[in-house]
Symmetry: C2
Subunit: 350 residues, 2 copies
DNA sequence: GTGAAAGCGCTAACAG
DNA sequence: CTGTTAGCGCTTTCAC
């Protein structure tokens, strides 16, 4: 008792340790450890007493100490190329949901960009021994980075896209894109432009490529022509959608009656700029995207929706289950997508 | 040497420890510790050798072990009410920038909402002994939560708003809002509506209130009437902006020629819905927001811009400086804002 | 400039 | 059911 007072009086900032609790409760630290972690082999009476004492002392176990003792940090890493873009921020929210409901911490690593134009390279040292598992939000990874990832030797899952040799969770991009294009076709469109994402960044960033292929195949299956000058490039941002529209409309010749955008953000850029040019959506131009961005409903954007938050939540759940000893919990899974028809698509007027 | 091999052969997953490096380099662990951390009192020759050995062995210090030994975790916590809203995601990116450039980790705590309608309550136990400092992204905090915050007894700064008794970084909301309203006045508007944020959530969430007050005072200083029916309420989201426009336009009587929105997201909602109603922006209605959201330039939205990323970066810097022993590094500071005139404001037509 | 040794606070056998 | 006893891997005096 005397010792406890002594400690807390000077210690103060160091915080109350398990020893303080043990002393105050008149038990050993081992028992306190069991009690506070809800482990068996503690009598109800002592457990209650310990919990009371711990609460009154404001005891919280040191994560460093237990981490050192157990080899587990109880934090999982989330690797993202961006945090302020819709897909990633939603995914982070989803991961966080699962993590915190299971008392894990989320350590965020923002790489700042894709592939080669990345601010910070991913290296295993930055997360090594700091996290128990890693959730990778989709991005182009260099060979080096992929190697680092595998060297880590901790549970790993990638959300939102396909990475070589890694379990991943994401929508079927081919189907999603096909659905979008077919919606346009069903409406009667024949002159359809494509606004796709970057396909040149890196070898293993295949989402853009798959969506492009879906577009092309659905078009040619329908006996429709894919005009190269209507094939526009963007980087998934609103600004790039805006620029793409400008390029499209500034070139001579016939204009498309519809445009399939690889992301809602690019679709928004197209719509904003169309408005400026006096091009009416959907009367003059139908626009469809992919994602179902938070703003899409308000904008009335027709899209093929996906839920990155749920994808990341599922991925996180798998990771934690794996850590809980459920071997094989982490495995690839296809996430759902859904056509959401709103007001930016309509039959062509001509 | 024999011992090392033994260790690494079975250990494997445990990783290489400082002892392994020490043994392989023929020095003590103390020297390795000094060498890898770049501390003085190590001869250039030994340092080089140790670094080489460490690199070839792939040594990375265990954060738990050094955390336990030093009492520092080298991670700072970021507390946010949301992560997928512009202000917060940008702030997180800013904090991350500073943190990772200084080799700190970012632990994200997403509370999921403001004040009472929050999913997860903030309690000091969730971060206690896990972080060295805390960056709070602006939100309404309950009394309890504020108390917890202070009990934490670690460096703390709030970004984006004012919290009782805490150092904070953010724009001068009064000035920013006044600037926006005055821009409308300068254009010749007299019939100005207000779309403000929630002011009822919590006592200490004063950003909405300050902006409202600025609007009212600038208006009355100009001898203009503030019409109660043009005072609309939102929650900073696009959807709420959209609804506010609908309410405004569905009521009988005169319509405003301009609307000042407390955030760009709400302004976007207004613009989207105005478009649906055939109300032209800016001819029939001028719209101005606050923030300079990523989409605002593409949309052509006139706004009063701020940089949450820079604010959070600065806050983080202060926190780390404080941890580095620079006492008094953490202190309140006003961040800049700037009127950005684009295409959604113009002189009134009537 | 370098090493020995004593912890940091907790967990995990192993006894009892 | 509970206590004892080793560590976990690193840092940090304090000697040398």
């Amino acid at each position: 008792m005397a010792k406890t007072n002594e400690r807390s009086q000077r210690g103060g900032h160091t915080g109350v340790s398990i020893e303080d609790v043990a002393a105050a409760a008149g038990v050993s630290t081992a028992t306190v450890s069991r009690a506070v972690r809800g482990l068996p082999r503690v009598s109800p009476a002592t457990r209650e007493k310990i919990l009371d004492v711990a609460a009154s002392l404001g005891y919280v176990a040191s994560s460093s100490a237990s981490g050192l003792a157990t080899g587990r940090t109880r934090t999982i890493g989330v690797l993202a190329p961006f945090v302020s873009r819709w897909f990633f921020s939603k995914a982070i929210e989803g991961a966080d949901r699962e993590l915190h409901s299971r008392k894990y911490n989320l350590s965020l690593f923002n790489l700042g960009g894709h592939g080669s134009n990345r601010e910070r390279l991913f290296s295993s040292t930055m997360v090594y021994k700091q996290i128990d598992a890693l959730l990778v939000l989709y991005m182009a990874l260099s060979e080096d980075e992929q190697e680092h990832l595998h060297k880590l030797d901790i549970p790993l899952v990638v959300v939102g896209g396909h990475v070589e040799n890694c379990p991943y969770i994401g929508i079927n991009d081919y189907d999603a894109a096909s659905t979008a294009v077919r919606h346009l076709l069903d409406l009667g469109h024949k002159d359809i432009a494509l606004l796709h994402g970057d396909d040149e960044t890196d070898l293993n960033f295949d989402v853009p490529r798959v969506r492009i292929r879906a577009f092309q195949e659905v078009m040619s299956d329908a006996g429709l022509e894919v005009r190269p000058e209507w094939d526009q490039w963007g980087d998934f941002t609103v600004a790039s959608g805006q620029q793409a529209f400008t390029r499209l409309w500034n070139q001579p010749g016939r204009k498309p009656t519809a445009i399939f955008c690889s992301s809602d953000e690019m679709a928004m850029g197209v719509i904003f700029e169309a408005y400026r040019h006096g091009v009416r959506v959907p009367q003059d131009l139908s626009v469809i995207g992919i994602d179902d961005h938070d703003f899409s409903a308000s904008l009335g954007l027709t899209t093929v929706g996906q839920r990155p938050d749920n994808q990341a939540e599922l991925g996180t759940k798998m990771l934690l289950d794996e850590l809980d000893g459920h071997h094989g919990a982490v495995r690839s899974q296809v996430a759902p997508h859904e056509l959401i028809i709103r007001e930016t698509t309509a039959p062509p007027c001509r």
